[in-house]
């Protein structure tokens, strides 16, 4: 049985994708990125971003907080210096795009149309930036508008990545679909915070951050289940996936594919192990 899966015009050889911000071409030294369905790049913005002050991550029970702050070299430098390595190692590269202002999303996408990127994942759900990011993703009208503007800027498939920090994710997902999205991915991280009781100060340089890892799996599974019921496009499940069993839970909940984030830090070979695990599971009677 084939593991392949389609998202709009894009076909992946298997449904295992590495999540944005958790895999760089450096991972190739520890795993074989070409064996995965796809790799999502760290989110790219129009202009370079230095990111947030350290400490940028802190461990929490069965999870972690990050406040990287969308550090990236900006689209032009990304295109020249970073993208070629992703393209070299990965079978398919999905480019994560973010922006501070609405027009920036479409602008970044346009500048990357002439590359070998296979699809775009639109990050309207980053909790770690002051402007843009999640603020766009909380409002269904805004999500609809962003999706439409990007859709008209590219022929490549687009995936809208949603935040769990909202009251009504189903309608936001539907707004993305009616705006022309080819797929939806969820969840991005949840708002979180940790405090050092000795210094009485937040543990993160940016005060607050985004929670990821096994601790959020039940939440992610819930949202995937809810969204998969109301949209027709493929849903990509993300959140706390550590092994094949976790991945299967997401498929049963309605996901067409999955993304692996925090697990890459624990075991950089997680993706390949899940590909193997799924192949085995599919072949069992």
């Amino acid at each position: 049985m084939s593991l392949s899966v389609s998202i709009g015009s894009l076909t992946l050889k298997n449904p295992v994708i590495l999540a944005s911000g958790t895999c760089s071409p450096d991972l190739q030294k520890f795993t074989d990125l070409s064996k995965l369905g796809a790799v999502v790049t760290k989110s790219v913005t129009l202009n370079p971003r230095t990111g947030n002050p350290p400490p940028r991550t802190v461990e929490t029970p069965c999870g972690m907080l990050n406040s990287i702050g969308l550090e990236n070299p900006g689209v032009e430098k990304f295109k020249k210096e970073v993208l070629p390595d992703y393209i070299k190692y990965a079978d398919k590269v999905i480019c994560s795009v973010s922006g501070e202002l609405l027009y920036e999303y479409a602008e970044v996408v346009k500048r990357l149309n002439d590359t070998d990127i296979s699809a775009f994942e639109i990050n309207v759900s980053c909790p770690n930036v002051e402007r843009g990011g999640i603020e766009f993703g909380k409002d269904e009208k805004m999500v609809h508008q962003i999706t439409k503007s990007i859709k008209s800027a590219t022929k490549k498939p687009i995936i809208i990545k949603l935040s769990p920090n909202v009251s009504d994710i189903e309608n936001i997902a539907k707004a993305a679909e009616s705006g022309g999205a080819d797929g939806i991915s969820l969840i991005n991280t949840l708002y979180g915070m940790a405090i050092d009781i000795n210094t009485k100060k937040p543990k993160l340089g940016n005060i607050t951050g985004g929670l990821s890892g096994p601790c959020i799996k039940p939440i992610a599974l819930y949202y995937v289940y809810k969204v998969a019921k109301v949209v027709k496009m493929p849903v990509i499940g993300i959140g706390g996936i550590m092994n094949t069993e976790d991945a299967i839970e997401f498929f049963i909940a309605g996901a067409a594919a999955i993304e692996i984030g925090t697990a890459n830090f624990v075991n950089p070979n997680t993706g390949i192990e899940i590909v193997k695990g799924l192949a085995k599971y599919n072949n069992e009677p």
Binding site: T22, S24, D26, K29, K42, T50, E71, T262, F265, P268
Partner: protein
């Protein structure tokens, strides 16, 4: 680059050496043979999800197919590590990062000064060993300065094989009373020196200021919270200032796990 698969390294020894400080010997030919001083291993201490992330620990020494880590019990991760027994397997990735440029000690100076505070001594034994073996054939000298809060926290015994070791403790329980950086000025007898430092951030700030003032080449090993340990997550950022012109400089970040843990003192903002 050596890629460790799960649970391939084998624990040979795991003994308490001082109050709350442990020395673990781990057999792993790949890591031990390719390691250089200042590099680290990234260890998964538990196969549950609590604690979840790996722990970065410097390579303290290597002997054939075995490498050592010297670590202090701080929280849950190092606690679990300290309870591991001889014969158990360990999931360690490494060696990671860029270590000390021990060549500097020869090519650049007549005196190589190694200065370590607290658990900062951990990577310095391996460094001292390598520098010492290189210096034997040279006209240069090695001087080692080590400091800690008190005698029970000061790891110095093994360093004495290199001679020329000075010790400080904050409570005066051994040799000089004070901070290890207090010894820097009196140690510096030549402009042709090189400094190698590891220790708490306060100590490194003093060392950096000293090195810049006296125009001494200086390398120092930094710590920052890590996730991936391999340059993928942008977690372990340290500020660097790039001098664009006489008057303009620019702030950006480098990464402890990939660009470091060892940096040139002048490039980092600490």
């Amino acid at each position: 680059m050596i890629i460790r698969n799960k649970e391939m390294a084998k624990i040979i020894k795991n003994n308490k050496v001082k109050d709350g400080i442990f020395l673990m010997s781990i057999e792993d030919n790949g890591i031990a043979k390719s390691a250089s001083p200042g590099q680290f291993v990234h260890i998964r201490v538990s196969d549950t999800y609590y604690p979840l992330l790996r722990r970065p620990l410097s390579i303290h020494n290597t002997e054939g197919p075995v490498f050592e880590i010297l670590y202090k019990v701080i929280g849950i991760g190092t606690k679990i590590l300290s309870e591991k027994k001889e014969g158990e397997k360990l999931d360690a990735i490494g060696p990671l990062g860029k270590g000390f440029n021990s060549q500097l000690a020869i090519s650049n100076s007549q005196l190589a000064i190694i200065i370590g505070g607290g658990m900062g001594v951990a990577p310095l034994y391996f460094l001292a060993k390598v520098i010492n073996s290189k210096l034997k054939t040279q006209n240069s000298k090695l001087k080692i300065l080590l400091g800690a809060k008190n005698k029970d926290q000061l790891i110095y015994e093994k360093f004495e094989e290199f001679g020329n070791v000075s010790l400080t403790t904050e409570d005066g329980s051994i040799e000089y009373k004070g901070l290890v950086t207090d010894l820097l000025l009196s140690t510096l007898n030549s402009q042709l020196s090189t400094l190698f430092a590891c220790g708490p951030i306060g100590m490194l700030r003093i060392v950096k200021a000293f090195a810049i003032k006296h125009k001494i080449p200086c390398e120092m090993s930094l710590e920052e919270n890590m996730c991936c340990g391999i340059g993928a997550c942008l977690s372990c950022a340290v500020k660097v200032r790039t001098q664009k012109s006489e008057v303009r400089s620019q702030i950006s970040y480098k990464y402890v796990c990939k660009d470091g843990p060892v940096f040139k003192a002048e490039e980092i903002e600490i």
